[in-house]
C-alpha cells in the first residue's frame, strides 16, 4: 500500500516538475543568465522562475537551540539563521545592522549605547526590545543556568560577568541595562574594540523573557517552544530530530531581502553517503573527507573553502627538559615538511601555517592587508636550520639523543598525519626518538589539562574577530596554555592591547604583530596547517557566505540561482 502511495507521489512530483519547467519557459532563458545582476531590482520575478528551496545535509542533530546553552557548531548555525542579535556579519565579515541600527561608544570605550529598531518582532508578535537583551545576557551568566559559553564569552568583557557567574554579585549588577524599550546600554570591563562583531555571536542573542519562562524546562526543545526573530524559522524540529526545515520568517523586519523560501536538512554522518546523496540529486551540498577528495577533486562542483582554524604542535616545557631548551623547540618547529602534509595527507585545500593567526581572518585596521600577510612567514620548513638548532640544543643539554612522547588524536586522518610528523622529525633530527600516543579527544583533553605529554597535536578556532582570540592562548596564566610557556614581555605586550592601547586599533595590531613574532622567537609552538573544507556544492546555491567565526554559514542573502 505504502509503495503505491509513494509511486503516486513520485509521479505527481514528476508531473509538477514538467509543469514548472513549461510555465517558466517563456522568460527563462533570458532571466537565467542575467538573474545575477538583476537580483537586486527584481527579486520577485526571480522567485517565479525557480523554486527557492535548497536541500542540505547536517553532520549531526542540533543539541541545543537555547542561545545561553549552545556550545557547538550546529547550535550556533541554526540560532544564527533563526535569530538576530544586535548585528549580523555580511559577506565581508563586516557587522551590518540587525536589531540594532547604530551605536555610540563613550570616550573611554567602556560604555556602548545601542539604538534598536522599533519594527523588529518575535514570531509570536511581541516586539523585540532592549529588555530582551538584558534578560538573555543576565541568563547566560546566571550560575543557575549552568551555561558554559555565557561566562566564557562574556567574562572579562561585560562588566561584572565573572562576578555574577561565581555568585559574588546579583545578576542585576551585570553591565547591561535597558534605557526605555529601544536603547541598550552596555558597560564593559575593559575597552573591547571587537565588541561590535562579538554581538553577532549566538550567546549574545536576545530572549523573550515571558516566553522563555512560560516554556520552562521545555524551552527550545522543539519548534513549538522556540521563538524566532531572524530571517528563518525552524520547523518540524524536536531536539532528537534527524530532519527539519528552515522556512522563511515573514515577520522578520528585513523579510524582503530574504529570497529563500525553505531549506530542508537531513542528518547524514557518513561522508560517502553524503556524496552519494549529492550525486543522486537529493541534496545540494556535501562535505568531502580527505579520503574522498582524490576521487572528487576533478568533479565540476568541487569547491574548497578556507576555514579559520589553525593546527599546531604544543611543546610542553615542564615535563621533558629537552623541550625546555629553546633551540630544541626551534629545531622541531622547522623539521617537518608542511607542504607535503597539506598536499598529500590532507589534500583538501588546507593551507600551510607559518604563524599563529590564520590567513584571511583579520585585515589590518583601516581596510589594510591581511594580518597574516603583514606578519609573514615566521617559521618555515628548513632542514638545514633545523639541524643547526638541533645540534646547538643537544650540545647545551649535553646529550646526543632525545626521546619525546607525541600526543595526538586517533581518527583515521589524524593517525596518518601523526605517523608522518613523527617520521619527519626522526628523519630530520638525528638522535630524536618519537613515541606516538594516539587517544580519543576526551582523553587528550585530560592529558592536556594535567600537562601529561611532551609534544601535542592541537588546534584552535576563533571565538571573535580579533587576533587576540589566538594570541591570548599563550599568556602565562592562559587557560589553554598548559605547556608551561611563559614570557613576561609577551604578557606585557598583550596586556597593553587590552588597556592603554585598547582604543587605538592601529597600535593594537602593531603590538599583535610584535607579540606573534616574539612567540616564534621563543619557538613556543610549531604551526602545522590552517584547515579548509572540501565540498561538492551545486552551482544553483547562490549567496551563501562562510563566516570566519560563529555560525559556519550565513543564509540571509542566499537564493537559488540557475544551474549553470
Amino acid at each position: 500500500m505504502k509503495l503505491k502511495w509513494s509511486l503516486l507521489l513520485a509521479l505527481g512530483l514528476l508531473l509538477s516538475v514538467f509543469l514548472v519547467a513549461c510555465s517558466g519557459d517563456d522568460g527563462d532563458s533570458a532571466e537565467g543568465t542575467g538573474s545575477d545582476d538583476k537580483k537586486e531590482e527584481e527579486p520577485a520575478k526571480d522567485e517565479e522562475n525557480v523554486e527557492q528551496v535548497l536541500n542540505f545535509i547536517n553532520g549531526d542533530t542540533i543539541p541545543s537551540m537555547d542561545p545561553s546553552m549552545a556550545t557547538d557548531e550546529y547550535g550556533f548555525q541554526f540560532l544564527g539563521a533563526t535569530m538576530e542579535g544586535l548585528y549580523r556579519l555580511d559577506e565581508n565579515a563586516e557587522p551590518v545592522e540587525g536589531i540594532a541600527t547604530e551605536h555610540k561608544v563613550s570616550e573611554n570605550g567602556l560604555t556602548w549605547t545601542f539604538t534598536l529598531r522599533e519594527d523588529a518582532v518575535w514570531s509570536n508578535g511581541d516586539p523585540v526590545t532592549a529588555h530582551d537583551f538584558v534578560y538573555a545576557w543576565q541568563r547566560a551568566v546566571d550560575p543557575d543556568t549552568g551555561s558554559e559559553y555565557g561566562p566564557y564569552m562574556m567574562g572579562g568583557v561585560i562588566k561584572n560577568a565573572t562576578a555574577v557567574n561565581t555568585g559574588d554579585v546579583p545578576v542585576e549588577d551585570l553591565g547591561v541595562k535597558a534605557d526605555g524599550d529601544y536603547t541598550l546600554v552596555v558597560e564593559l570591563e575593559n575597552p573591547v574594540p571587537y565588541f561590535e562583531s562579538l554581538t553577532t555571536f549566538g550567546t549574545f542573542l536576545p530572549l523573550n523573557q515571558k516566553f522563555v519562562e512560560e516554556q520552562g524546562d521545555k524551552f527550545a526543545t522543539s519548534t513549538d517552544t522556540l521563538l524566532s526573530n531572524g530571517p528563518y524559522k525552524l520547523t518540524d524540529w524536536e531536539s532528537t530530530s534527524s530532519s527539519w526545515n528552515l522556512e522563511k520568517n515573514a515577520d522578520y523586519w528585513d523579510a524582503e531581502t530574504v529570497q529563500l523560501e525553505k531549506m530542508t536538512y537531513e542528518v547524514v554522518k557518513d561522508p560517502q553517503t553524503g556524496v552519494d546523496l549529492y550525486e543522486s540529486g537529493t541534496v545540494d551540498r556535501a562535505g568531502l573527507s580527505s579520503d574522498l577528495v582524490d576521487q572528487y577533486s576533478t568533479h565540476e562542483d568541487y569547491v574548497v573553502t578556507p576555514e579559520t582554524s589553525v593546527f599546531y604542535l604544543k611543546m610542553n616545557q615542564t615535563r621533558n627538559e629537552a623541550l625546555a631548551n629553546t633551540n630544541v623547540r626551534a629545531a622541531i618547529s622547522r623539521a617537518f615538511d608542511k607542504q607535503a602534509l597539506v598536499d598529500q595527507i590532507l589534500n583538501n585545500g588546507s593551507l600551510v601555517a607559518n604563524g599563529l593567526i590564520p590567513a584571511n581572518f583579520t585585515p589590518m585596521p583601516g581596510g589594510g592587508e591581511d594580518f597574516r600577510e603583514v606578519s609573514g612567514d615566521l617559521v618555515t620548513y628548513d632542514v638545514e636550520k633545523a639541524k643547526e638548532y638541533w645540534e646547538k640544543g643537544l650540545e647545551e643539554l649535553g646529550t646526543d639523543s632525545v626521546e619525546l612522547e607525541f600526543l595526538a588524536g586517533d581518527s583515521e586522518t589524524a593517525k596518518t598525519m601523526n605517523e608522518y610528523l613523527a617520521n619527519q622529525l626522526e628523519t630530520n633530527l638525528p638522535g630524536l626518538k618519537v613515541t606516538l600516543k594516539q587517544v580519543p579527544f576526551e582523553q587528550r583533553l585530560d592529558l592536556d589539562t594535567n600537562m601529561d605529554y611532551d609534544i601535542q597535536f592541537s588546534g584552535w578556532g576563533p571565538d571573535y574577530l580579533d587576533p587576540y582570540t589566538f594570541l591570548n592562548l599563550w599568556l602565562t596564566d592562559g587557560g589553554n596554555n598548559k605547556m608551561g610557556y611563559s614570557n613576561p614581555d609577551y604578557d606585557a605586550l598583550l596586556e597593553k592591547t587590552t588597556t592603554e592601547l585598547a582604543q587605538d586599533n592601529e597600535a593594537r595590531y602593531q603590538t599583535f604583530l610584535e607579540a606573534e613574532k616574539m612567540l616564534f622567537e621563543d619557538a613556543a609552538i610549531a604551526p602545522v596547517y590552517q584547515s579548509a573544507m572540501a565540498q561538492l556544492v551545486s552551482p544553483k546555491v547562490k549567496g551563501v557566505y562562510v563566516n570566519p567565526f560563529g555560525p559556519t554559514y550565513e543564509y540571509k542573502w542566499a537564493s537559488v540561482g540557475s544551474e549553470e
Binding site: E148, G155, T221, D276, D446
Partner: protein
C-alpha cells in the same frame, strides 16, 4: 509454570541491577566530562556547571541518587540534548532500529530456512554446494560491505531505491537487505545441518516405512525437529539486530539507537549511556525468557519443573 516465570523475573531484576551497577562505575571511569566547552573554561567555571548537574558529589552519592531515580522509572535528562528526557531519546531512536531489525530477522530467517531446506534435500548436490558457499560468504563478510555495494549498485547507479535517509518504506529496503544477510546465512547453515541429521534418524525411517508422503516427512516430521536448535540462535540475534548497528545506520543515515549509543559514549552523555545500556539489557533478558518458554511449546522433550509430572 507461573512459579517458574515469577522466579525467572526475580532473577531478571537482579541481573539488571548488577548490569546497572557495573556499567555505572565503568562509565565513571571514562576519561573526560560531559562539559562541552571543557577546553575553554576555567576550573571555577567548570565547577559551577558540574555543580548544577550534581556531578560534583562523590561517586557513591551519585550512584545512590541514580538508583533512587531508576526505581521510580526516571532515567534522567540527557546532557547532550538540551532538556530532553532520556526516555524520549530512547523511544524516538528505538523505532527505526527495531523496524529494520524485525524486517531483516523475519525475511532473513524465512529465506535462510528455505535455502537450508533446499540444500538438505539435495544433499551433496549442486544446490547444496551453492547454498553452502553463499552461507559461508554471508556469515563471514561484514554487513557494511554489503551495505556499500547495495547502496552503490541499487541506488546510486540505477536509482531503483533511495540512497539513504529515513521516512518511507522504500527507505527501509536496502538497510533491511544488508542486515538480513547474516541471519539468513546463519539460519541456512543451521537448518541444513540439523535437517540432514534429522533426516537420517530412526523415526524418519519409521515414517517412511509407514508410507508417509515425502512432503509430510520433510515438513511435519523433519522440519519441526530440525528447527528447535535454531530458536536458540535466533533469540540473541533478534536482540542484536533490533538494538541497531552503528555502521549500517550511519551508511543509510537511519536515525537509530545503535548509532545514538556510540555518539552518547563519545560525548560522555551519562544518563543516555545508562538508559541505553539498561534498555538493551532488559530486551536481552526478556528475549531469553521468551525463548526458554518457547522451547516448552515446540519441544515436547523439555519440561520446566522436574521430572515428577
Amino acid at each position: 509454570m507461573v512459579r517458574y516465570i515469577l522466579r525467572r523475573v526475580f532473577y531478571m531484576v537482579i541481573t539488571l541491577f548488577i548490569i546497572a551497577t557495573v556499567s555505572f562505575f565503568l562509565m565513571k571511569m571514562l576519561p573526560g566530562s560531559p562539559l562541552k566547552a571543557e577546553d575553554k573554561l576555567t576550573e571555577e567555571q567548570k565547577e559551577i556547571v558540574l555543580e548544577k548537574y550534581g556531578l560534583n558529589d562523590p561517586v557513591p552519592v551519585q550512584y545512590i541518587t541514580y538508583l533512587k531515580d531508576l526505581v521510580q522509572g526516571d532515567l534522567g535528562i540527557s546532557f547532550a540534548f538540551d532538556n530532553t528526557p532520556v526516555t524520549k531519546i530512547l523511544m524516538d531512536r528505538i523505532g527505526p532500529s527495531a523496524q529494520l531489525g524485525a524486517q531483516s530477522l523475519l525475511v532473513g530467517t524465512f529465506l535462510g530456512i528455505l535455502f537450508g531446506l533446499i540444500a538438505a534435500i539435495s544433499h551433496n548436490g549442486i544446490l547444496d554446494y551453492t547454498s553452502t558457499i553463499l552461507a559461508v560468504l554471508g556469515t563471514s563478510i561484514p554487513s557494511f560491505v554489503f551495505a556499500g555495494l547495495l547502496q552503490w549498485f541499487l541506488a546510486v547507479e540505477t536509482g531503483w531505491f533511495p540512497v539513504a535517509l529515513w521516512g518511507t518504506f522504500e527507505h527501509t529496503i536496502l538497510p533491511t537487505i544488508a542486515l538480513m544477510i547474516f541471519p539468513m546465512a546463519t539460519a541456512a547453515r543451521f537448518t541444513r545441518t540439523e535437517m540432514i541429521e534429522v533426516m537420517g534418524s530412526n523415526f524418519i525411517t519409521t515414517a517412511r516405512a509407514k508410507g508417509v508422503s515425502e512432503y509430510g516427512i520433510i515438513f511435519k516430521h523433519g522440519m519441526r525437529n530440525a528447527l528447535i536448535p535454531l530458536v536458540t540462535v535466533i533469540g540473541p540475534m533478534a536482540v542484536s539486530l533490533m538494538t541497531g548497528t552503528l555502521v549500517i545506520e550511519q551508511i543509510f543515515a537511519v536515525p537509530g539507537i545503535g548509532e545514538q549509543f556510540v555518539s552518547s559514549i563519545m560525548v560522555n552523555d551519562y544518563p543516555t549511556i545508562m538508559g541505553t545500556t539498561l534498555l538493551f539489557a532488559f530486551l536481552f533478558v526478556v528475549i531469553i525468557l521468551v525463548i526458554d518458554l518457547l522451547y516448552v511449546l515446540i519441544d515436547p522433550r523439555i519440561r520446566l519443573t522436574g521430572g515428577k509430572s
